[in-house]
Symmetry: D3
Subunit: 252 residues, 6 copies
C-alpha cells in the first residue's frame, strides 16, 4: 500500500488517461495512484531533445507534488530525469524502463523492446545502455508508420505490435517482451496469452516496483552519488526546482 | 498476496530459521511464505561445486512442492539452479541475488555486495556477471575470518559488516549496499539508519519480487529459451525431477 | 575561422570569465568566441540533478542565440544537454568532455580525469560511459576538500591538482591527463611542462574541435537519430525551446 | 600420454559411442581414453535444466572414477558442471566448449558455432559468455528440424550442417567454425577440406587439451577460488559427491 | 597552421595523389602538407599482414622525415603503426581511422564505416576495437567486387558507395558515415548533400586533427606507456628506425 | 610430434637460449624444436614500437624458414606479428600470450600476469584485450627495478617474482598465474609447488599448443579474414616477405 505519483512528462491527456487506467488496474488494494500531466512539453517523447524538455517538466511536477506521496514514477519509457530526481526526492522514484527491466530480468535472460516508432529506438537503446543491461538486449523493434493518434496506438496497430513481438522471439532470440512506452499502457494485459513469451509493460511494472520499494524501506542516501547535491549558490529557479535543491530531510 | 515457497538449498536449519523470520516480516498481508531446507547438501554455499549440489537439491524440492505455491524463491545468494528452474516451473521463480539486484538497480547506479567470507566473492561475482550487471558492480567485500556459527554471523560480526559497507561507499563508489546471503537475512532491517546509502538484502527482496511477479501475471514462455525443454527420452531420475521434465501445463 | 558560442550552463560569472579567457587564447586567428552565462541554475554542476537544470538552461540559451554562430559549445564538463542539442541545432555542437576525449584518444591509449570534487566523479564516469570510452578510462580523481571559491580553484588547489595527476600516471596507468571542468579552464596551459604526460583541458579542446567541425562541413542529419525531431503537438514552451523544436532548416 | 576419463553427462549410449570413436582417433599414442555414460539424465542436453541434471550426474561419475585417471573431460558442449569439478578434482579437467574455444582462439579472431538445434543456442551462448569470449563470437547457427536420431545427426543432416557453416563464414564473418556437441563428434574430421575455414570439434579438442594440461603440470590451486571448498558440515550426499567434498590431496 | 607529413604506407602513387589533393583542400590557410609514398609494400592494405608491412614502411619514412614537420599522419585507414610511432615521435601523430572517429563521435552516437572491399572489414573492425569504440560501431559495409583500379574507386563505384551508406543508416542505425580508406579521399566532399547523415572521411579528418593537436600543445609523454622506449641494446636496424629508437628530445 | 620453429623476435641470444632449453623440456618425445634469433631489433620488447620492429623481424624469419616446419611460434609475450603471420603461413602459428591464455582459461576463471617491468604492462594489457579476454584479467604486475641482465632475470629477481604472484592471488583475485615473457621461460617449472595457484609460462604453453594444433589438423582458411591476402601489386619487399605474400599453397 502506497500513495504513488505518476508523472506523465508529456502534454497528452489521452496518454495520461491510459496511464491512469493501467496504474489503477495494477495497484495493490489500498494503494492510491495519481497521474499528473506535464504543463509544458510535447505530445510524446521520441528523441533526446524531447526528453530534455520532459525531464525538466517532470522535475517541476515532482517538486510541486511529491510531498503528498510515498513514491514517484517518471511515466515515460526512457525515464527522462529519473536519475536526477533520485538524488533530490526523499522517497523512492522509478521509471517505466527501469521498472520493466527489473521485472524482465527475472523472467528470462534476453529481452526485446517493442516500441511505437522507428525513431524512438535509438533513445531507448541508450536508456538500456545507461541501465547497464545492453548485453541482455536482444533487439528493439518499432512500428514503421507515423502514428495517427497517440492515444489510440493499441487500437490502430495492435496486430502489428503482436507481429513485431513474434519476430523478436523467433528472429532475435528474445525470452521476454517489453512493451515500451506509456501509449502502450495496458496492452500487455489485453494480449495475455497471445504472446509466446512473458510480456511486461512499463506502467504496471513501475506501479508495482514503486510499491515494492516503499515496502522495502531501503533507507536514503546520505553519502555517495545519490545523496542530495551539496549546498551551493543558485539563482533564477522555479520554486519547485529550488525546493528540490534545498535538499529535503530524510524520512523520519 | 501470494503463496511463496522459499527453498534453502543448504542443510542448515538455523539459516532456514533466519530466512523464515525475515520472509514473514517482508511478506505482504495475506501472503503465505514457507521455507524448506535441503535434505542433502552442505551447511552453506561458498563455491561453484557446493552450488552444483545446492542446485540439484533445490530442483528436487521444487519438483516435490511447487504445485502448492504461486511462486518459488531459491533462497541462497548466488541463485543456484535459478535459470534452470525458470524453464520448468509453471510459476514465477526468483533468487536472492537477482531480486536484490532488481531492487538495487532502482536505488542507485553502482552497488557493492557485502558477504560472509572471502572465498564466496568469486562465485558472487560470476553470478552478477551472469545477470549482465557487472558494469554496475562497484565491489564485493567479505569477512576475513572463518565463521564460528553460520546461524549467528550477524551477532558475531555485525560491526565488521557495517565497516565493510562503509568502505564500499567511500573507497569503491557504491551508491547501494547489497547484504548478501541467507545468513545475513534481516540484517538490512536491523541496520536501518546506520548505513550511509540505501541497503537491500536478498530474502526480503526475493519475497517482495516474488509477490510482484505473481501480481504482474506476465504469462509463461511457450517459445524461446525458457519454454519447457523439448520432450526426449530420460532415465533414472528422481520422481520430483522427472515431474519437472514432463513439462507442467501453463497456468489456467 | 568560426564564430563559436560557448554556453556556461551555470550561473557563475567568475567561471564564465575563466572560460572566456581560455577560449580566446585557444581560438584560431579570425575566430570569434562568445561566452554566455546561464540566467538560472547553480554555481557549478556536480550532480545529475544539477545537470538536468543546466541542460535546460543551455537549451534556452542555444535557442535564443545560436543563429548568430557557426558552432555551439556546451561549456561544462559532463556535457549537459549536448546530445539533445545535436538533434535540433543546424550547426555543429560539442562539449567539454567529448572534445577533450576526442583529443585525448589521439594522444595515448588510457586517460585519467582530474576533477574539482569527489562528488563530481560519478557524473563524469557516466559521461565517459555514454561516450563509449569507459574501457580507456584509467581513473577519475578529485579534490577532497570543499571548494572555497569556484572561480579560484586553480590558485587554491594548483599543487594538489598536480599531485593528483601524478598519481593517475603512476598508480592508475594513465597515458593522458584530462583536466576536467570549466573552473580548471587554462590550467593545462599554465602547467605546461610540469606533468609527465600529455594534458588537455575541456575549454581549449572544445573551441578547437568546434572550429574543426565547422571546417569539416560534414553535413547535417536528415535521417537517423540526430535528425530534427518529427513534428508533433507541443505546448507551454519558452519561445527559444519552441524555436529549436520547429526544426531549423539545414545550412544552405 | 595420459589416462583420460570422458564423462558423457547424458544417457545416450549411441552418443557415447561417437565420443569414444573420436576420442580414440584423437588421442596421442600411448594415451588411454575411457568414456562413461551418465546413469541418469536425458538423451541429450539442450537447456539449462537438462544441464543441471547433467552436471550432477557428471559429478557423481567423476567422484567415483577420477582416481584412475590423469584428467577428466566433461563430454558435452556447454560444459555442465565443469567449473565446479575444477574445484574438487586433483587433476586437470576440461570440457568440450572450453577446449574447442581454446583451439579456435589460436586459429582466427572470430568464431561461429554450428549446433544441432535452435533451442540449444541460448545455452551455448551463455557458455561462451561465461568463458569471457562472447566478443569473439560471430554467430551460433543450429539445425531447424527436430532430430530424428541423436546418434545419427551427422548422417541425416551432414549437408545441412555444411551449409550452416558456410553461412557463418560469408554472412556472419566467422574465421573459424566450431562444430558443437558430442553428437557431432568426428564430423570435423570427415569434413576435412570441405569447409572454407579451419574447423574444430569439441571431443577431439578436449582430448588433446586434456593431454596438454597433464603434460604442462601447472600445479593445483591451494588458494583462490579454485582451491578445494573449505571444510564444513554436510549431510545426505551420495558417497561419490561426498568424496569430492572431502578435498582430495594435491598430486604428489 | 602546421607543417604536416602524411605517410602513405602503400606503394600506390595514384592513391598518394588522392591523399595529396584532399589534404591540400582540407588544410588551413598557412598549413603545409606533404605526402610521401612507401618505398616498399603493397598497392593497398586490406589485411593484417599487409598492415605489418605498411607499419614498418611508415616507421622508416617517419624516421627519415619527421624532423621537418610539426605533425605526422599515418595515411591509411586502419592506422598501421600509429600507436608505435606515438611512442617515438616528438610531435603529434594521428591516423585516418582515429581522426575520423574523433570527428564522428562528435556528430552522432553510432557510426558506420563504408569500405572498399569485403576483406578489409575484419581489419577495420579490429582497429575500431583497439580504439575502444566498438560499442558505437553500427556496421561496416564494403564493396563486393574486386577493385579494377585502386586510384579510381570513386569513379567506378560511386553510386554503389552511396547505396551502402544509405543501408548503414536505414538498416544498421548509423548516425554518421565514415568513408574509410585513402582510396576514398575526397569522396565525402563530392557527396556533400547526398547522404542523409553527416559524413567524414579519413584524410580530411586527419589533416585537421593534426593541426588541432599541434595547436593544442598538450606536451609530450615523459612517463607512462607512450614515453620513449627505455634505452637498451639494439642491432641491425635501418638508420631511420634506429634514430627513432634513440629517443628524440622533447620539443623545446 | 611436430617440427616447431620458435622465432625470438629480439636479438638476445641469451634469451634464445632460455627459450631453447624450456622448449626442449616441454616438447613431446619425437618433436623437434628450433629457435631462431632475430637478425635485427632490440634486446627485449617492452613497447609498441619495439613490437613493430619485432613483428617485421619475425615475419622475415618466418618467410625464410617456415617451409621446414609443421608449426611456428612467435616466441615473445605480446605476440608481435602473430595475427599477420596467421594469414600467410600454411601451418599453425601461435604465440606466447595466446598459448598461455589458452591454457590459463582451462585452469581457472581469472588470471594475472607477472612481468619483467612496469613499462611492459600496457603492451601486455592491449594484447589481452586483443585476445578478447580482458574481462578475465585480474591484474598485471611487474618488477619495479631496471633489469641488470635480461638473460638472468630469474636468478636476480626470483623471490620478487614469487611475491608478485602471491599478491596477484590474495589482492587481485587471480585463480591462475601467467609468467610472462621469454626471459622467464622455465621459471614456472622451477617454481613448481611454490605458488598457491596453477601457473603457466609462455614458452612451454606455446610449444605444447603448437603440437596440439598440428595434431588437430583444423584445415586452412580459404575464405574469411585469415585467408591469404588477395593478390595485388607489391614492390621493394625482402624476398622472405614477398614469398609469404605470394600465398603458399594449402597443405596437401
Amino acid at each position: 500500500m502506497a500513495k504513488i505519483l505518476l508523472i506523465n512528462p508529456n502534454i497528452s491527456d489521452s496518454v495520461s488517461a491510459l496511464i491512469r487506467a493501467e496504474a489503477a488496474r495494477s495497484a495493490s488494494p489500498g494503494s492510491v495512484v495519481e497521474v499528473l500531466t506535464a504543463p509544458f512539453g510535447v505530445a510524446y517523447i521520441e528523441t533526446r531533445f524531447e526528453a530534455l524538455i520532459g525531464a525538466y517538466a517532470a522535475a517541476q511536477l515532482a517538486g510541486e507534488h511529491h510531498a503528498r506521496f510515498d513514491a514517484v514514477v517518471v511515466a515515460a519509457f526512457g525515464d527522462p530525469g529519473l536519475a536526477a530526481l533520485r538524488e533530490v526526492l526523499p522517497c523512492p522514484v522509478t521509471g517505466l524502463t527501469e521498472a520493466a527491466l527489473a521485472s524482465a530480468m527475472q523472467l528470462g535472460q534476453r529481452f526485446s523492446i517493442v516500441a511505437i516508432s522507428q525513431r524512438i529506438r535509438a533513445w531507448y537503446r541508450e536508456t538500456v545502455e545507461h541501465c547497464g543491461l545492453v548485453g541482455r538486449l536482444a533487439s528493439i523493434r518499432g512500428l514503421d508508420e507515423p502514428l495517427a493518434d497517440i492515444g489510440n496506438v493499441q487500437g490502430d496497430q495492435g496486430e502489428r505490435l503482436v507481429q513485431l513481438a513474434e519476430r523478436c522471439v523467433v528472429d532475435d532470440g528474445a525470452d521476454v517482451i517489453v512493451l515500451a512506452g506509456a501509449p502502450l499502457a495496458g496492452l500487455a494485459r489485453s494480449l495475455a496469452g497471445r504472446l509466446p513469451v512473458p510480456c511486461v509493460d512499463g506502467v504496471s511494472s513501475a506501479v508495482r516496483h514503486a510499491e515494492l520499494l516503499v515496502a522495502q524501506r531501503p533507507g536514503r542516501a546520505r553519502s555517495g552519488s545519490f545523496a542530495p547535491p551539496p549546498p551551493k549558490p543558485h539563482a533564477g529557479l522555479p520554486p519547485a526546482i529550488e525546493a528540490l535543491l534545498r535538499g529535503p530531510a530524510p524520512p523520519g
